[in-house]
């Protein structure tokens, strides 16, 4: 270290860069050590200031987050370097995985455990009620309807969205031109939030009885154009459930199409060509070559959609009173009981049921994935 000043005096000679680099490193280290805590402190007060520009606050938060994570890892690494030799390499992976594990336990494992505990307690979480909350989940009229409806959602939505997506992916593959345009149009709804889509469809399904102004809904306009009376689409049982599913299909078909399309394009042309030369019909090519080749992709897309359908809440919530319309779904029940009716016990029990319902889908998906890996 003592050679620093001398080398700095002659910056062009060979050892100089090493010395300068050393100084730069030292300065950098001092800057980090002194600067970061100061920065953190300043950022803390700045972000608490209610008058501060929102974007500036977001910017500072991002900056602090990134630098903070960097500083944390650097610090941890340095601490590991100080450990006895034998421990060092054993400890290092845990040091790097550690923060992720801590975050995972705080934000995932702890809430799950706490929810399970709450599901055995009463509405305010004070006393134990045994299985009462679960008895409610499987006997309440409205809850049973929500279980039935969610069952329908996870079958109908993935099935329809996949079928249409596959159809479009196959057909768009044959387009001479405009393939990307056609695909973009179908993909577009993916960019809309569920609530946004639901509000849009409220207008499409809008209904006003005679005397309350003209009907402004597109669907009723078409329906009346065909010579029928306007229909309250969102309250007409049991079809209103399908009307809600249409929204999710509309949003997810584009996703299925894009993913499946890329899978189809990845099928080696030699195989399909060979089949055609051997006299296979288009249907046989599709059935015996295309489908088996893209099966893994279909599985992944299906899983994604099933989980999405299990989580559906916004669409149902925005489209009228689920209890009157018979359109309850499990996630919607959970929020209604937890937040609107302040019954933590019921809400938690519904959440646990929903959580358990997702597990088989995940297990199936992981198994499938492992099997694929084994073949490769």
């Amino acid at each position: 270290m003592s050679d620093g000043p001398e080398t700095q005096a002659v910056p062009t000679t060979d050892p100089a860069p090493a010395g300068a680099a050393r100084w730069a490193r030292l300065l950098g280290a001092v800057a980090v050590v002194v600067g970061l805590p100061l920065l953190a402190r300043w950022a803390y007060t700045f972000m608490k200031d209610g008058d501060a520009n929102r974007f500036a606050v977001v910017g500072v938060a991002i900056l602090l987050g990134v630098l903070g994570v960097f500083a944390l890892f650097w610090l941890m690494d340095e601490i590991v370097d100080r450990l006895p030799h034998g421990w060092r390499e054993g400890a290092r992976p845990y040091v790097f995985v550690g923060p992720a594990l801590v975050i995972l336990s705080v934000f995932l494992i702890y809430p799950v455990v706490n929810t399970v505990i709450l599901s055995f307690k009463d509405r305010s979480g004070d006393s134990w009620v045994g299985l009462d909350n679960y008895r409610f989940v499987f006997t309440d009229e409205s809850m049973l309807r929500s279980l039935r409806n969610t069952g329908l959602w996870i079958v109908v939505v993935p099935a329809v969205a996949l079928t249409i997506g596959l159809l479009f992916a196959t057909l768009a593959d044959r387009l001479q031109r405009g393939e990307s345009l056609a695909k973009s149009l179908i993909f577009l709804p993916m960019a809309i939030s569920f609530v946004g889509a639901a509000v849009t469809f409220r207008l499409i399904y809008s209904y006003r009885p005679a005397g309350f102004g003209t009907n402004i809904g597109v669907l009723n306009a078409i329906w009346q154009g065909l010579g029928n009376e306007p229909v309250p689409w969102l309250t007409e049982k049991p079809w209103n459930n399908l009307m809600l599913m249409v929204i999710m299909v509309w949003m997810q078909t584009g996703f299925a199409m894009v993913v499946l399309s890329s899978a189809i394009k990845a099928i080696p042309e030699e195989i399909t060509e060979a089949a055609r030369i051997d006299g296979a019909t288009e249907w046989q090519v599709f059935r015996h070559i295309t489908i088996p080749s893209i099966l893994p992709t279909i599985v992944v897309v299906t899983t994604y959609m099933v989980i999405n359908a299990l989580k559906v809440f916004d669409i149902v919530f925005v489209m009228g009173s689920p209890e009157n319309n018979g359109t309850e779904v499990v996630a919607e029940r959970m929020l209604t009981w937890f937040f609107l009716r302040n019954n933590d016990g019921y809400g938690a029990a519904v959440a646990v049921v929903l959580f358990l319902a997702v597990i088989p889908v995940m297990v199936w998906n992981v198994r499938r994935f492992r099997a694929e890996e084994a073949i490769r």
């Binding site: 805590p37 209610g50 500083a71 340095e78 601490i79 005397g211 009173s321 019954n343």
Partner: protein, 437 residues
Amino acid sequence: MRLRRVLIPLFALALVATGCGSDDSEGGGDGGGGGGDNTGQVVLLSAVEPEEADAVQKIFDDLINDGADYTAEIEAAGNFEEQFQIRAEGGTLDLAAVPQPGAIAQLADDGKIVALEDLGFDIDELNSTFGESFVALGEHNGKHYGLPTNINLKSMVWYPKDDFDKAGYKVPKTWDELIALSDQIVADGSTPWCVGFESEGATGWPATDWMEDIMLRTAGPETYDKWVAHEIPFNDPAVKTAAERFGEILFTDKYVLGGAAATADIAFGDAPAPMFDTPPKCWLHRQASFINSFFPEDAEAGVDYDWFPLPPIDQDGTLYAGELTVVGSNRPEVVDFLEKFMGKDVQCEMGGVVLSSRISPNVEVGPDCYANKILADASVILTKALEEGTGRFDASDLMPPEVGSGSFWTGMIDYVKGGPSALDGVLDKIEASWPKS
């Protein structure tokens, strides 16, 4: 290497030091009085629309913040119910204007909100300023947790004044006159009532208002209070009588535009629209004081439309709703803000905000504070009801949420769709949904 060895602990130390140090860096102003230090900021969480919040904020700026050692802010939360719960439980709530007093009991039990007694308010004084029945809504285990800061009148029947007068109709003073007027309108070849109950996830609430208004007039305030507190069951004969009166309007042939069953699909905001057709397609619409913000923009109060109080049946009554402001943090500036907020000056000024239709529950606020005659007239009726104790708060906002914002809403829709024969089943179902314990 040696350098690093020194730097690392230093760095860690510096992090710890700043982490601990930042707590006392703020505030430190003039305490005195309440429990905590003045943080210089008071946030009133509220369920109002953003435009209304802007107008209220301006009043705060002019009348409270000017010259105060803190800044009061109104925050319009789109998801008020969730935000209120989260902040109260998390201890970050200053004040909240709560439209559903039913939420207070649990938070008071958990010690998440502060009693007015502990903040130094005199309940007798509040009783004479806001009327005992309204102040009592914030009471829990002998202490009061909510202070009335806003009220709106529900017992209002709107009518198209110019056409109404031209047709020679008279404002009814009794229920029988109201029914006679309805029959007259049917005889003249038109439809008397416009009714709409659709309100997205809250569909059914306007129907519960109807029920409560009638219940107050048939059973009287004492029975009404028992009904709210579940001291009589929901399928009690008194409740059934009120529901049957309601059915008298709903199910009489040609009384309701589009028929009773369709009312569940008519958005409550769209419902009064046919009243402004020429000639009107309906003549009467029962809805709270805010509904005129849904009327056509060119409709003029006092000319194109006016209102009369829903007439008495077996007795008179006044149904209202409103907000109780609860306090989550005992700090001197919060108390100071609340005193000014409920005071005559600020309340009077808020009556002038046209787009909010706010009426003050403070009986000292006179009718000349209000932006228009509609609000002024309503305030006179409300003040009288608060002083005489004939007014009652919206029952569904007081009942447990399973009922008040659940089975009561959906039950009323089942009733209007199912007709008179569905009534017994509906009342039994609501009774069964009342939470045990």
